[in-house]
Symmetry: C2
Subunit: 229 residues, 2 copies
Amino acid sequence: MSRSERLLDLVQTLRRHRLPVSGRTLAGELGVSIRTLYRDIATLQGQGAPIEGEAGLGYVLKPGFMLPPLMFTDEEIEAIVLGSRWVVKQPDSRLSKAAADALAKIAAVLPDDLRNDLDASTLLVGPRMGASEGIDLAAVRQAIRDEQKLAITYSDAGGAGSKRIVWPFALSFFDKVRVMVAWCEMRQDFRHFRTDRIATLDATGLRYPRRRQALLKQWRTTLEDVAQR
Amino acid sequence: MSRSERLLDLVQTLRRHRLPVSGRTLAGELGVSIRTLYRDIATLQGQGAPIEGEAGLGYVLKPGFMLPPLMFTDEEIEAIVLGSRWVVKQPDSRLSKAAADALAKIAAVLPDDLRNDLDASTLLVGPRMGASEGIDLAAVRQAIRDEQKLAITYSDAGGAGSKRIVWPFALSFFDKVRVMVAWCEMRQDFRHFRTDRIATLDATGLRYPRRRQALLKQWRTTLEDVAQR
DNA sequence: ATCGCTGCTGCCAGAATCTGACAGTGGCTT
DNA sequence: AAGCCACTGTCAGATTCTGGCAGCAGCGAT
């Protein structure tokens, strides 16, 4: 058994024993000398595992769990972060604090580009979407990640359809519908497109000339202006 | 730099290069020989990392991300799982599928006792809770984990207060409020207690005589019976 | 106060692992 | 055919890991 496997084993073993266990016992269960066990404990503590050792008693793992290295796809990470953000907004203060802590831990290890992706997926208002989507939201998300223009056919509130080229930079939940936030070339302004009113959607393969991050920032500023009126 | 650190570095390096990179280049950036790089790639692939190598091109990391070992508290895991379950229920099929996949991956590595804890935290109906809680939900969660009786003072719909001993086994979201699901000793039946109507709550320290898992199963059966009426 | 149990650290030699270099195979592109 | 590349096998040397030993410190029981 390699060292890294053994370290995970140690955590699991500590979880099984709820009461303090002596180092000698742990070493025996892992088939390793007590000296090595001390080194392993030190390594785990160095990685942030909440293991407490007290002379005369033994070791206890404070309640918690070490998630081993896991491979998630972009969308899985997005789903987890989105769900956690929702929990943060819930009134259960303990749980919402826990969710915030978890988010911070996850964000701390995410590479920059992925963290930016997540910023683009905003959660505006208490979400309670009803209508099923007609278009492929994954395509929208892809375009946002790649900072590429989209050609869409959109039916506005009045029912009139229009073709537009837009620069999408965020997918948002708003009231009961999902909304794609984008710069509209036709209007030369920010526009919100309800995803259930987007009739057709085609990737253009063309990159738009500004950074998504910059658009997002500018859009947020605009929102604040509106709110202050 | 230890080997395990370097393996994480490799993943990060592969993420930076979006286009295929040759093994020679990667080896150079990591400061190791190309032979070692091949071994590292093999190790990562063995751990499930979606790295693809093609002769004549180089290596690409299929979009995704490897979360390094992370320490979460019980409540953080609960928050993540609960949030992901919410995402699963959303109409965005791509994202909800991603959430389901992520949940499966997390469940696969959770120790049994923690997985049981999570079963007790159910998500019943589209949640949109408004009222803030008066009592300490963490105490309820603790009692559920430890399978211990609780003494509560509850105000029912009519406003009349009553003292009861209950065996809590699940915390649930229902309509707009949070609900503690428990066996009520007074009524000798399952009862749902809106957490915002629980006036006082005291731990008894007494274990109740049945397994939480069994209560949960029986309660679900009861629910189905009611639904079929 | 003494004893026993335990956590924790430094040290060192042997065991285990990792590493780099070399050689070779097979696929792909030019 | 030539060049680039992924990939595997082998092997000696470098590196790391491991176990045993010695010693210190904190705690509770005797």
